[in-house]
Symmetry: C2
Subunit: 291 residues, 2 copies
């Protein structure tokens, strides 16, 4: 009778997450850079130690059980937390000042975000008496949450309602309306204002779709990967998009922006991990709150 262990090594979590994502021991083993048999054994040991069946192996394939789904989610979170611990510790580097570390901050911002607010924030913070260096990490549309969770970033600019603030502390910075961006020559471009219903049902201009957390909502419109592509598609008269007011700064002369009366307002937040105790971060938040 071996002692029943109630802990779980990072390695075992990595193995299980790989198998649960691939649903295939061979491919998972390859991804992990190891042979398949030890991986099979490791997962069996894991199941025995947890006393729980995680995978349903039957002919031709592997499926997750309910417990397996739970462990996949919770395990990813635990792996993220571990990776964050490593990254943030490394970033704190040779800092040996007591009473809370000071040091460089990594700020995650979507590349397409308004640079005006960012510039204002960075300038104001740089003017503070003992400000630290801030590294700006440009990312895609919905990556900020992941970057904060796994420690690649310390703080992020997020845009409600697209980004979820769940699990983070945050400070609201600005609120703005949204506009419809149309080809300049389109009949609707002449209107003073529009409603969401107006732009949703234009027969010749399907509404552009961008990914939320990696997946696209179904619809007739084109799938948008970056801002340049969107601008081009609008200019070509192939789509219409709903974007925040501040996006006007990147519009072309071939574009027209019409305010939307009933679109939900976009709130830009400064967000950071809920448990953070960095003094440097606190300074940045204080600056942001005064904007």
């Amino acid at each position: 009778m071996l002692p029943a262990v109630d802990t779980l090594e990072t390695r075992e979590l990595r193995y299980f997450v790989a198998v649960a994502e691939e649903l295939h021991f061979g491919r998972a083993a390859e991804r992990l850079g190891m042979a398949q048999p030890p991986l099979s054994r490791a997962i069996q040991q894991l199941e025995r130690r947890l006393g729980v069946c995680l995978l349903q192996r039957d002919r031709r394939g592997v499926r997750l059980t309910g417990a397996g789904e739970v462990l996949l989610h919770e395990g990813r979170a635990a792996l993220d937390a571990t990776a964050a611990a490593v990254r943030r510790t490394r970033r704190a580097g040779g800092d040996d000042s007591p009473g809370g570390p000071r040091g460089r901050l990594v700020l995650a911002v979507k590349a397409a975000a308004s640079h005006e607010l960012l510039r204002k924030l960075l300038d104001a913070y740089a003017a503070e008496p003992d400000s630290a260096e801030i590294e700006v990490l440009l990312c895609g549309m919905c990556e900020q949450e992941e970057l904060l969770r796994d420690g690649r970033a310390d703080v992020a600019l997020m845009h409600a309602p697209w980004n979820s603030l769940a699990g983070f502390d945050s400070e609201a910075l600005t609120t703005e309306g949204q506009v419809a961006v149309l080809p300049a020559g389109h009949p609707l471009a002449a209107r003073e204002t529009l409603s969401l219903a107006d732009v949703r049902d234009v027969p010749d201009l399907p509404l552009a779709r961008w990914p939320t957390h990696g997946t696209y909502a179904p619809g007739p419109g084109p799938e948008i990967h970056n801002q340049t592509q969107l601008a081009q598609l609008i200019a070509l008269g192939r789509t219409v998009a709903v974007v925040p007011d501040s996006a006007r700064s990147w519009l072309w002369t071939e574009h027209a922006a019409v305010p939307l009366t009933d679109a939900p307002p976009v709130v830009t937040h400064l967000a950071w991990p809920a448990h953070s105790r960095s003094l440097t971060l606190a300074g940045l938040v204080r600056t942001a709150a005064r904007l």
Copy 2:
């Protein structure tokens, strides 16, 4: 040249957290049930692999560097997340239903909380068509956050502003005022209402103090560990306390409750880990939102 690893085993985190908490290799090793030399070696390996100095060893003792403090905080979070993964997976047990697990929920409530709201919530949920079993876990004044983080609980009743909702999703349930609880015979007990200033400065009745996250604020009043002790001290005329309105249900005839005009309102929330995807939890939240 060994391959630079950028991961970190749970075991190493446990070791470091133990040393960082004890600030003493010998005691930490004892706590971990191992000898001191391998622990020393493990920490050295950890420092080498991270490329960061975590501990300042000089004559007579060990201190944390800035990076060490970061790793202590982040490491605790990672260990909690790992423990949560184990507990929640075990709890999901033999559940093999696809599309999200169903199963028993653990609800954390402080023992001193009002039972009326809890009863209403549990009754309403039990009346739902496909409700699951709910295990109520009674805890101390500020433990709910920890219970949610390390997976011993799935959902909790929290009371703002005493509990911090940072890092959790939540749904506000009720708001109530606060009252001052005095010995029945005290002159102030005859008043219709009181202000915080009134009860803070009573010379013969120092304000009771209870712990926030394990530590007591400084002050002249007695340190409170549980509700019975508090009731006794008030009845004896040794202290006065500020408590939510609903606490009237446990008052004695020797007590008098006087409403406070300027005390912050107490909001009871249902709170759960931000990333939770349990269908059972969703059902409970839905029920709570309808209350």
